[in-house]
Symmetry: C2
């Protein structure tokens, strides 16, 4: 769905085709890739981020995943007088219980508050993160929380997974669009492990419901029983997330 | 906010002014109220609903709140061979743990599935309802889940309550609107008891996050720590619901 949205908006993708060289050529820029060349007026380099932890590393402070600064649930580093908060610090993942590094604004901001509270004498213990994220690509909303199937396997779970397509609004309500929901659960415990969603509307805020469920350690069955809001302009009677839970339960 | 939206769309409200008589007068209808008269081409009577439980009552089956048919968590009535599902049946409220009657489509539908499963030999136990509901009034979305302050008092809680105003999108993002969030928590246990929200966008699906929290029996503090989705077109870094939780925590 994301690829189609990009293509329909004139964006060509060349995945798995590494850039080898960028060269100025008259008024344009030539980008040489492994299997092709492209020309353009502007080259925007978007190759991900890394935690800026050099000062901590030099000071002998312990690092965590991806070399982010390792902190406990109170944002304390391995040095008893030094806290770290922001995109440079790691966090506990509420699904795996393990350390992870997913640098997003809410955690960075919340970490800052927690350090301030802590330094001022108010003990704060942060639960951790579910990795909840959303982005907009042209007219499409793309969101996720927790683990996808591959991440669940890598984290040592025995996951089952379903992808369903539902509608963003009630049957026959004008303006309705397709929402695709991917849901992952653990075969051993029945626990909800993660949800991913794509659609033209109603995705960005829907994802917060399973995010809360992950914080609560809910099973897929318990999530599927939740009393979610229904009104024709906003959802089918069975929200697509509940339909996904019902289908996933059959596999679990 | 709802009153303003109605007024701006040409709807006049006369609350607390009971209708005493409706009479045909030439081509129009005259509606006599206690303190005034109105004229119009159409009268739409909207005075609420009652459970249709007469047949059950005549059969000696126990009734619950509002004379809805009393059912257990498996939708079984007081007669061991008779189930009831739909708007006619009562339900357990996940916040109070008590019986309630809030006739909404998802519970009615879910109850029907549960009875079918049960009759076919698959034991089903429903958690109950949070009373999650949403409606649209012109351009405004109005949603709620769980108890408001008054309902919390009536249910025997000692509630604290805050109302905050936040933005539907990130600071300075175009198209952002005000979202008002009312949040209710229990002073004794810190538990989240309910959330009510109003805004022109982003309310209908936001309400599902606290709905899940109510099913999980979360505290306001735990809900306030949830990793909700952030991206500028969809939310401030701190979602208005998180801001409400942070403010409510101070009162608790």
């Amino acid at each position: 769905m994301v690829r189609t949205e990009l293509a329909e908006n004139g964006v060509s993708l060349y995945p798995g085709n590494a850039v080898t060289r960028v060269e100025k050529k008259d008024a344009t820029l030539r980008v040489d890739c492994e299997e092709m060349s492209l020309e353009g007026e502007m080259v925007l380099v978007s190759i991900g981020v890394r935690p800026n932890s050099r000062i901590a590393e030099k000071a002998g402070i312990a690092l965590g995943p991806e070399k982010a600064i390792a902190v406990d649930r109170s944002l304390l580093t391995s040095h008893k007088n030094i806290y770290a908060a922001g995109d440079c610090a790691d966090a506990y993942h509420v699904v795996t219980g393990e350390k992870t590094w997913i640098p997003l604004a809410l955690r960075a901001n919340r970490g800052g508050w927690a350090v301030a509270d802590h330094v001022m004498g108010k003990k704060v213990t942060l639960q951790g993160i579910a990795g909840t994220a959303v982005f907009k690509v042209f007219g499409l909303q793309v969101a996720g929380t927790g683990l996808n199937g591959e991440e669940a396997v890598n984290a040592g779970f025995d996951p089952a997974e379903v992808t369903i397509k539902g509608r963003s609004r009630a049957h026959a309500h004008p303006g309705s669009c397709t929402i695709a929901v991917n849901m992952v659960g653990d075969r051993q415990t029945g626990r909800l492990l993660g949800v991913q969603m794509v659609g033209q509307e109603g995705v960005a805020h829907r994802i917060n419901a399973p995010a809360v469920a992950l914080h609560a350690g809910m099973t897929v069955e318990a999530f599927g029983q939740c009393d979610l809001a229904y009104a024709p302009p906003f959802s089918p009677v069975w929200d697509p997330m509940l339909t996904a839970a019902n289908q996933l339960l059959k596999k679990l």
